[in-house]
Subunit: 141 residues, 4 copies
């Protein structure tokens, strides 16, 4: 399972397809693409916060969803558009007001269905702030 | 299981605790509170959209999360602050660019844990756009 | 969405396709089939128990999975064989050593994917013992 | 996070608390305990099968649940009894009629809640047959 898109390719794609995500400035950026995986960095802005200087749950869902989507894209190319069919997330620790990194691992990349595991961490890699699994339907060519 | 807060109570609470949600105008409003349940209406704004004039997945997660949270609040009062511990969502149909209603049912409201089922619909109540289950940890008094 | 198989049809199908389930006697039986839904009754046997005279979690998963599968079958017929792709279950209350009823509602029955909501109850219908959502991949004809 | 029980301790505990699991002979055994993790081996018996010589979904749920439970136990000791509150499983590939290994990683071990990630593999470690996340409520001491 080898990636066929570069970080720059993914950024250009997100820029044109998810303009809303970057409405307040670029908050998401891919930091690594590797066989079967991808890492995305999220810089929380004002509107992603919750009282107590923490990051909102739906913002972490957004991060996991876009990162998992990018991981699939990186491995199948920008032609076929995957659709999120389900997402399960466990909120493990209250994130600090700081960047969150999302490490994605492709568990399955079938013809019709892809399943991605995502671990969200801040400073301490051994104490993730959240874990998510997302499934995507891949349309027939 | 009887509600102890009114729609106005919930609105006032959300206004003061979730100001980010309403940054672009009030997009969420409670339309019904009933024993064991609550309905919330979501009016998607520009930043909740995705290409193809549809509503983004994370926006539906936000709706389900806030609505489920409000359902708990309505039944235990604003004192104890529940924390979302997990959320599972199935995206069933592409929503149109129109309001989404989220019907919550409290499956369990224990001393430590609450579990809420949420069905998101638009016009056709028999064809939901999404279904979610969220769990909340209720802190000791 | 109208059922095209009868209770007897479903029983005959399960008998021939899931013989292991009934290894110790028939523990599962369909009690109702309706448009978009199905109810299955589970009579726990010795091997489904856990200490404290309760029913094991995996037994409830088995019930939800077979019931959801039967609900799909009842509406599309025995030709195409659906495969479970994911299952999310919340254990809400400790079940007693007594029959459990599983009420299934088809949330989506697409060409490729079906999503079923299942509520497991005992005596008190308002206090379910578990809630599950299962997704199935439907093979191309 | 260091384990405080040995493989033999865990086996003795399962033997006395989950006798049903081993009704047809010992099918589960711990093969490794490490800081923050545990591996369990499952030898499928006749009653865990499905047509086509594959292993049933609920049997994989049983494996993930018992393995995750054992992982918690190994780290907190046999005193407090954890209760499964939710389980999410993705079935990725049809398992062969052969042993399945379940690698558990403790994502969180809090005072009240534990969250465990489980990856089920057979021969090819890079192509898991299933992935699960289970949450447990830990009773107050």
């Amino acid at each position: 399972m080898h990636p066929i898109m570069t970080i720059e390719d993914i950024h250009a794609f997100l820029e044109s397809h998810f303009p809303q995500v970057h409405a307040d400035g670029r908050v998401l950026s891919v930091t690594d693409i590797r066989p079967g995986g991808l890492t995305m960095r999220f810089e929380p802005g004002e509107r992603h916060l919750r009282p107590g200087d923490t990051v909102s749950g739906p913002s972490m869902v957004m991060l996991a969803d876009v990162a998992a989507y990018a991981a699939i894209l990186a491995h199948i190319g920008p032609v076929a558009l995957a659709v999120t069919t389900s997402l399960n997330i466990n909120f493990l620790r209250k994130p600090k007001l700081a960047p969150i990194f999302c490490d994605c691992r492709i568990l399955k990349l079938g013809k019709r269905l892809a399943v991605i595991d995502a671990i969200l961490t801040q400073e301490n890699v051994d104490s993730p702030v959240a874990q998510a699994v997302a499934t995507y339907s891949i349309p027939p060519k």
